[in-house]
């Protein structure tokens, strides 16, 4: 089993959802990122999503857009992102690491180059916001050839007719984008998330992670009762936005509150 399925299986064995946390690589700068990544793990994150900064993050709201601009503004390069990933892998051999970002920085040197870099840095999967299944040929074959997962996204607009196209070639896990919108503050109603996750579970055996708009331990716990993974991004990125270089301990405390809520939520469910 690879790192991702091992981790999802371990969480499942504990009767809880995996906590997936997002930060942008190089936010506020490359030097500060390792401590922030360590804080995510120390706080109880099960899977790390590392954002590759891009000048034009069209699917992101102001929080993550600003994180992208802080990172690029402090001089982060693609080689730094892979160095951060490789160092993380050395420090945390078991924790799955997903690169998340946009097509242009990933493909500018060709998909084979990108896939090789991912493999060499110990990256387990890739989420590319602007490569829908229709354009899979740009990135999918190269990643699959080196055993890196291409994680697909299902959204509130992905209807039953379209879902098979999304699942065809999906691996690692399926990311359910809970709101038809951008990352940030907008929240989906729990009832809608439950319906959507139910439909996805009926269609695939892949673990289902839910993200977009999850900001509090309470929400994470509620979603954790029905999904295999809960993704939190903007709320963590906001903390980095406020505390900059000194963000690590604040990030760790917040992540601990999220992971604590996921663990408590099973006890409640069991009781």
């Amino acid at each position: 089993m690879d790192r991702l399925s091992t981790r999802f299986a371990a969480c499942k064995a504990q009767g809880r959802a995996a906590l997936i946390t997002f930060v942008t690589a190089g936010d506020p700068d490359v030097a500060a990122t390792p401590a922030i990544l360590d804080a995510l793990v120390a706080g109880g994150a099960d899977i790390i999503e590392l954002g590759m900064p891009f000048t034009d993050p069209m699917a992101d709201g102001p929080a993550i857009e600003l994180a992208n601009l802080r990172s690029l503004g402090s001089g982060t390069k693609t080689k730094d992102v892979f160095a951060l990933a490789a160092d993380f892998r050395a420090r945390h051999p078991e924790t799955p690491l997903i690169l998340m970002g946009y097509a242009n920085p990933m493909l500018v040197r060709g998909s084979d180059w990108f896939a090789d870099q991912c493999k060499a840095a110990g990256v387990d999967g890739v989420i590319c916001v602007d490569i829908p299944p229709e354009e899979d040929a740009e990135l999918g074959p190269a990643l699959r050839a080196v055993g890196v997962h291409l994680v697909r996204l299902a959204t509130p607009t992905t209807d039953a007719a379209r879902l098979p196209a999304v699942l065809n070639g999906a691996s690692g896990f399926l990311y359910h984008v809970a709101v038809a919108g951008i990352t940030g503050k907008q929240q989906a109603a729990q009832a809608n998330i439950e319906i959507a996750v139910g439909k996805l579970k009926a269609a695939t055996d892949l673990p289902i992670a839910v993200g977009f708009g999850v900001r509090t331990p309470e929400q994470a716990a509620a979603i954790g009762r029905i999904a295999d993974g809960v993704v939190v991004g903007s709320a963590i990125v906001d903390i980095i936005g406020s505390h900059g270089d000194a963000a690590a301990p604040f990030v760790q405390d917040f992540v601990a509150s999220l992971s604590g809520a996921l663990i408590t939520s099973i006890r409640e469910t069991a009781a």
Partner: protein, 413 residues
Amino acid sequence: MTDTVTLPNSLRSQPDANGHFGAFGGRYVAETLMPLILELEKVYKEAKADPAFDAEFAELLRSYVGRPNPLYYAQRLTEALRAKAEPGKGAKIYLKREELNHTGAHKINNCIGQALLARRMGKKKVIAETGAGQHGVATATVAALFGMECKIFMGAKDVERQKPNVFRMKLLGAEVIPVHSGSSTLKDSMNDALRYWVSNVHDTFYIIGTAAGPHPYPELVRDFQSIIGKETRAQMLEAEGRLPDLLIAPVGGGSNAIGMFHPFLDDPEVAMIGVEAAGEGLDKKHAASLAGGASGILHGNRTYLLQDEDGQITEAHSISAGLDYPGIGPEHSWLHEIGRVKYMPIKDDEALTSFQTLSRLEGIIPALESAHAVAAAEQVAPTLDADKIIVVNLSGRGDKDIFTVADALGVEM
């Protein structure tokens, strides 16, 4: 240049079923938008096959936009250039008068077409990005005409340099939303329009203003703008009894140029030049994505982009807000690679000079975008024989630019 035997029989049959123009185009959007884009493609196919759609489009172009606009022989410009050329040289220059359209540019052709599609899809709200404000004004205009709610995303820097158009949009009932992200220009307004759209797909139609974006936008914008080339063809046959030798049009995203070029792509005797904005020069700040960029993915399509070695988009610069974009429509990238259309860079100062030249010689104040094409014609015409014919697409009028030009010339208004 690609070997000609590998080219399709017709250069007018692109894109393929997946929206690719050779290696360019495609649909690089978030999953949330994918179903809507597929629906738009379906609706557009149906509309294209529906004579009633075509009839309504044609009637609005006639009675509302004021088409056909004239093809005008610019005799004084032609003669002035001949006077400087060697004997027997100096091509005859015609202007396609898109600036006489309602709202003062070619943009309205496309907006009418897309508003009709929005209505067909049952959407009552439209959004658009705008640079110079011409597309914003055209969108606000059709929104008023069709009784639709309208939001225009405009870079804060462009709000500042295109004040008259901002006020026009407001008069027309649109809400103008200044965009402060990134470089606060056209690309950023497109990012924010996409962000808004992805959050409001259920009731909102995005009227993209140029022949770029995810499939089917480059195709449908081109088709709606092709009225420019179709009229030019008929008018030239009537005036001269033959096709022109050279077409020249400015290229921002490329909608007026592709509209002018497309009906002539299969006529090998007609040469074409797309004029890119070279800003302060290709070695300095500019907006010439073919001359100074590389293939990449932005705003839903693969195309030539200004970018660094990591694929980060670099800031474009042009004195003309409508050309201030780091990309270009995918069909132009393809036409550039196969060599069918030549692309030529023109700098800010050259455009400024031609802006004044055309005003004085012909009594026509061109948009700064169009002045780039006039500048190219001024350079090329004297090198051609006097019996050659050039058509310049005068994509818009320059009223919106008088403040920018006065400022650049150091004139107090």
